[in-house]
């Protein structure tokens, strides 16, 4: 869906992530690498699309993980070219090793590190604050309040990065990433920068003897950036109604604060500062705040980064003083309440979010993962099921996922559970780990290799749906497709599994539940046999959201017959969203609007009440 006609050529309605991608192309970025993850996933495709539209040679890649993406982008920068790496906040945990060291060693061409945070969190395993990570690494960080600001900051951040030879972070949050605005487009900057890597072993190979000096240089850079006036916070001045009081905000919390003060009739009456670079916080700004105000409220997500730097002097109200909740998103409702309290105004009660309400997410109708999970849980009712990060985490709805920790963790947890039970000397329960194909490439390979090496015994089911479904269907290495859709070199999961030393490797379409259950039992026998080790089953069924698959797979006409005894097994233990309890018949029924005719539910009903005819 393109917005060309209505808007002309000068503006485009862009999502925050697309605006960031456009900003990279306009700023002469020549390489962008990423690993998909909500809320950052749309940044890389946007770079690919705009580079193509502008006829520019930009290398974009979905790397296998964030650490790899970081290092690829870093080297492009070391060759003197502008580079970017984008990821969700927990991706930065994975990339933290190269990230921290690159602050010491620095960069050549501008390097922009985009870490998208998820206060709330809405789609993440933590609500950590990447600005804190930037502070820890001693790297400057920008905090945009809108898609428009995010785009503007990209160019400024790359310039800053080049000027100080330091990586620079852009930290949008979910609300900025997924907001849309009408964004002006500009001509891309054409930088004539041939790749030129200048060798400098004391710097690029810095051994401990050089690091102390590099650390001193880094500290000096940060001091100079904090002293520079370029990124002095903005100010919407008050009219003196609150002479010794001010609000300091950054990121989308600033935008919400603006709207709420407007709604309360207080915009232009109380001083409102917008911090655009939370670290290093401008020195003069810190002094000014301390001298000028008696009371300061800091609104920022999600940790007290600005607040800590303002400590000492004026009374600072924020998360450290419990004036602002220490966890959760700063929604307009929360900000309103905090403002009313801080400004000592009467509290207006906002309508409360109802508890519960709405529908919980579930695997799609016809999803192959559901079939696999159902078979696993039915085969091993007493089993332990470590799992991982992706759509398939939703297997927890039907009790086939017992752990979801971080990328790749399920596999090592399975090994750890095995060693715990084995060392204990008691009976080892069936341990069945599940991992998605993309997650396996990302972090599963070292974990599998280690499990084999340490003689762990468990079943690993690799849920291979041939895509990175959760985040919008990015290609996996097995498809061999590059980020722009051009053919690359496919790498196969089965080859990798064998190379990790696995001797039991079988493949099955989980739609065939009886056959899949048979394989699971065989794998369990293998694990428990004298020569047993890790058994791997590739459960292969393409994602049903893949349009081509949808049109290629067999479609069944499915019906619930009179035999239904309303036991709810198909609803509670299988949970296909196309099945429901009919208020009319008091029996289960199929919703024809949602059913994709996969026919899997036929294997599920204990009384055989669900029947299927091939269409």
């Amino acid at each position: 869906m393109e917005s060309k006609l209505i808007n002309g050529d000068t503006h485009r309605i862009l999502m925050g992530n697309e605006a960031i991608g456009r900003g990279l192309v306009e700023s002469g970025c020549s390489l962008a690498a990423s690993y998909p993850g909500t809320p950052a996933s749309e940044i890389l495709p946007s770079v690919t699309a705009f580079a193509k539209e502008e006829g520019l040679a930009v290398h974009t890649e979905w790397s296998v993980n964030e650490k790899v993406a970081y290092e690829v982008a870093l080297a492009n920068s070391m060759a003197g070219r502008r580079s970017a790496v984008s990821m969700k906040q927990v991706g930065l945990n994975v990339a933290s090793d190269p990230f921290l060291r690159s602050a010491y060693l620095g960069v050549k061409g501008g390097l922009l590190v985009i870490a998208a945070d998820d206060p709330g969190p809405h789609s993440s395993q933590t609500e950590q604050d990447s600005r804190f990570f930037a502070m820890f690494a001693k790297v400057p960080v920008f905090d945009p309040a809108s898609p428009q600001e995010a785009k503007n900051m990209v160019g400024r951040a790359l310039e800053l990065s080049e000027k100080y030879e330091l990586p620079v972070m852009l930290r949008p949050t979910t609300r900025v990433c997924h907001a849309r605005q009408n964004i002006p487009l500009y001509e891309p900057l054409k930088l004539e920068r041939p790749a030129r890597f200048e060798k400098n072993p004391p710097r690029w190979c810095a051994t401990p003897q050089f690091l102390r000096e590099l650390h001193r240089l880094l500290n000096d850079k940060i001091r100079r950036i904090a002293a520079a006036s370029d990124f002095f916070p903005g100010l919407a001045s008050g009219d003196g109604s609150f002479p010794t009081t001010c609000v300091v905000a950054s990121g989308v919390a600033f935008a919400h604060t603006w709207d709420i003060l407007d709604e309360m009739g207080l915009l232009g009456r109380v001083d409102l500062h917008q911090v655009i670079m939370p670290f290093p916080l401008n020195r003069d700004f810190i002094d000014k705040i301390k001298q000028r105000y008696a009371r300061v409220l800091v609104l920022e997500e999600t940790y007290p980064v600005i607040e800590l730097q303002l400590a000492g002097g004026a009374a600072v109200h924020g998360r450290l003083t419990s004036s602002v909740p220490s966890e959760g998103e700063l929604t307009p409702e929360v900000i309103r309440q905090v403002l009313e309290q801080f400004l000592e105004l009467p509290q207006k009660t906002a309508p409360a979010h109802p508890a519960g309400g709405g529908s919980r997410p579930t695997l799609c109708a016809g999803c192959g993962h559901r079939a696999a999970f159902y078979a696993i849980r039915e085969t091993f009712p007493e089993g332990i099921f470590p799992s991982d990060i992706g759509c398939y985490t939703l297997g927890l709805n039907i009790n086939a996922v017992d752990t979801a920790h971080c990328m790749g963790a399920g596999l090592s947890q399975a090994a750890g559970f095995y060693h715990a039970y084995a060392a204990d000397g008691g009976e080892v329960p069936a341990i069945v780990a599940t991992i998605g194909d993309s997650t396996f490439f990302h972090a599963g390979i070292p974990a599998l290799l280690n499990a084999v090496l340490q003689k762990a015994r468990f079943i690993l089911v690799i849920l291979d749906n041939a895509t990175t479904a959760m985040t919008g269907h990015q290609p996996t290495p097995e498809s061999g497709l590059a980020a722009g859709g051009t053919p690359g070199q496919p790498v196969f999961i089965a080859d990798l599994v064998r190379a990790c030393g696995v001797k039991f490797l079988k493949e099955c379409d989980p739609y065939d539940i009886p056959a899949f259950q048979g394989l699971l039992k065989e794998a369990d026998r293998y694990c428990r046999s004298p020569e047993g080790a890790v058994a791997v089953i590739l459960a292969k069924h393409p994602c049903v959201l893949n349009k081509q698959v949808g049109s290629e797979q067999k479609v069944f006409q499915v019906e619930v017959t009179e035999e239904c005894i309303a036991c709810r097994h198909c609803l509670d233990e299988f949970e296909c969203p196309a099945l429901f309890m009919s208020e009319v018949t008091g029996q289960a029924a199929v919703d024809p609007l949602r059913c994709v005719g996969c026919g899997v539910c036929v294997h599920v009903c204990p009384t055989g009440a669900i029947t299927a005819r091939e269409e």
Binding site: P332, R336, L593
Partner: protein, 169 residues
């Protein structure tokens, strides 16, 4: 001109499409706007909400109790998202059950025309526009649908939209 609209549905129902159409309409009218939408896990059939703020707003979220209009693609979502509406806010809902709102059986209409379930959102949009619930007029929305929807769905989308308009009288 200021109007705050929430679009509430289940993941996969096409709330994002409506959000983008309304954003385009605001842009065509030269109005400032900012929108917000749900991505990630909740898109797998969970409850999703989009927000469209037309006018000089900065933040993408609509505070509870302040939305002027609610477009509900599923009746189940009323319980979850009705609190966003201000007192006197107008609700347009895809439902065959009448109530304290403007309802249209958009899913039923889509089915009877042989359209896929996602056509229901175009029906609801046409209905809400024709009942003068939105900042933009029926004709502008029809133009925008023609301009930005992919050619292979265009005819169906437009017919669905017109069906909603016709039902509004």
């Amino acid at each position: 001109m200021k109007q705050q609209i929430i679009i509430s549905g289940l993941g996969g129902q096409g709330a994002l499409t409506l959000t983008r159409l309304l954003a385009e309409a605001a842009a065509a009218l030269g109005l400032d706007f900012i929108t917000s939408e749900t991505h990630g896990m909740a898109q797998r059939g969970g409850t999703v909400i989009s927000m469209v703020k037309v006018g000089p707003f900065r933040g993408p979220l609509i505070p509870a109790g302040t939305a002027d209009v609610g477009l509900f693609l599923h009746r189940r979502n009323l319980a979850a998202h009705h609190f966003y509406l201000k007192p006197g806010g107008v609700v347009f809902i895809n439902s065959d059950i009448p109530g304290d709102y403007h309802n249209i059986d958009a899913s039923g209409l889509a089915l009877s025309h042989g359209w896929p379930p996602v056509a229901a959102n175009f029906i609801l949009l046409g209905f809400a526009a024709a009942r003068k619930g939105l900042f933009c007029k029926v004709e502008l929305l029809a133009q925008i649908i023609s301009a930005i929807m992919p050619a292979r769905f265009l005819e169906m989308n437009l017919s669905a939209f017109r069906t909603g308009v016709d039902q509004a009288v």
